[in-house]
Structures are given as structure tokens and as C-alpha cells.
Symmetry: C2
Subunit: 112 residues, 2 copies
């Protein structure tokens, strides 16, 4: 995983409406949620919601599928896990971390 996509993912999540949308999608699971429904739940105009969903999609954090006239968005859990792995990579320089540090990053074999 390279830092450019990581930054895009972090930037995508670092915004009130996008974070809220992402969390709703995480909780929704594979069913996903339609764009219009997200806009309604968050009280955001459709065009703004679309802009935010595009950012999340471009960052690889969510996926979209069309279902009739609606576009259903879903969280991509694997992407989130790659992101977390990247952030804790080589934690503590390989020294076994104290438990209370909670540093539990698994060794990343696909590290860039």
C-alpha cells in the first residue's frame, strides 16, 4: 500500500459528512445505502452528497452498484483494514509493544 492512496483515504474520512456517511455504510453492511437516503439522513443536498461519495469512492473506501434508478453504496472493509495496517506498520520498530499501548499491528507482508 502506498502513501498516496493512504492519504486520499484519510482525507476522505477527515470530513464531517463523509465520516458520518462512511460510518452508516460500515454499519449497514453488504446491503449498503442509496445515495439519496444518505443525503436525507445527513441533511445534505444531493449534489454535495454526491461530491462526498465520489471522494470516498476515489479513495477506495466504498463501492457503488446501480439498482434500478438508485445507486447503492457499500463500505469496503478490506480497504479499511489495509489502511489500519499501514498506520501501525513496524510499530515500535519491531520491539514487542507494551499491552496497554494496544499496538497489535500484524506484520504486513505486502508493505511498500
Amino acid at each position: 500500500m502506498q502513501s498516496e492512496i493512504v492519504i486520499r483515504a484519510l482525507a476522505a474520512l477527515a470530513q464531517e459528512h463523509r465520516l458520518a456517511a462512511y460510518r452508516l455504510l460500515v454499519q449497514a453492511g453488504d446491503d449498503g445505502i442509496a445515495a439519496g437516503m444518505l443525503a436525507e439522513k445527513l441533511g445534505v443536498p444531493a449534489s454535495s452528497m454526491s461530491f462526498h461519495l465520489a471522494q470516498l469512492t476515489h479513495a477506495g473506501l466504498i463501492t457503488q452498484r446501480r439498482q434500478s434508478r438508485s445507486i447503492i453504496y457499500s463500505a469496503d472493509y478490506a480497504a479499511m483494514n489495509r489502511l489500519m495496517g499501514y498506520l501501525t506498520e513496524n510499530c515500535c520498530g519491531g520491539i514487542p509493544c507494551a499491552d496497554d499501548a494496544g499496538c497489535s499491528a500484524p506484520p504486513q507482508s505486502d508493505a511498500a
Copy 2:
């Protein structure tokens, strides 16, 4: 954990130099790294580095301590773990996630 601090943390990490600095600190462990050394390693002017370190500090992701004339920064692992917990909170709406989804968020009792 409330979303405001989460957004601050994500925004703090969503920047090239700050992400690089944070990762160096994660790998450095408790020894930490001095501000000047970080600036040198990243090829960033001292004043810019200071600005970025302030953002990370304000987000609660790193801590600082003075050691003689230097200020040593260290990663706060617990903060990172809280952040990850928040992002995967209530993953899949409580439905046991598929293994390949890698969704391993523990139940967050201190969830906001």
C-alpha cells in the same frame, strides 16, 4: 470518542509530511524523535515541521517532551487504537463479518 476529535486525527494524518512524520514516530517507539531531526529527515523547513507537529499534537496522536534544547515527539499508540476502534464500530450492524472482510473491531464499550 467523539467525531470531532476523530476528524481532527484523520485530518492530521491526511497530509504527506505529517503522515511520514507520524510513521517515523510509530517506528521510533518510546525513544521518540526530535523536531529538528524530523524536519531534516523529511526535508521540510523547521517552521513548517513545527506547524505539522502542532496539528498532530492537537489531534492527540503524538506527545512531546523537552529534553534540553530539543523537543522530542513520540507517537501515542493508544490514541491510534481508539481511532481505529471508532472507524470499525458496529461494523456490519453486529452481524458476524466474513473473515475476508477482516472486520475485527472489538465491541467498543466507551462508544459515543
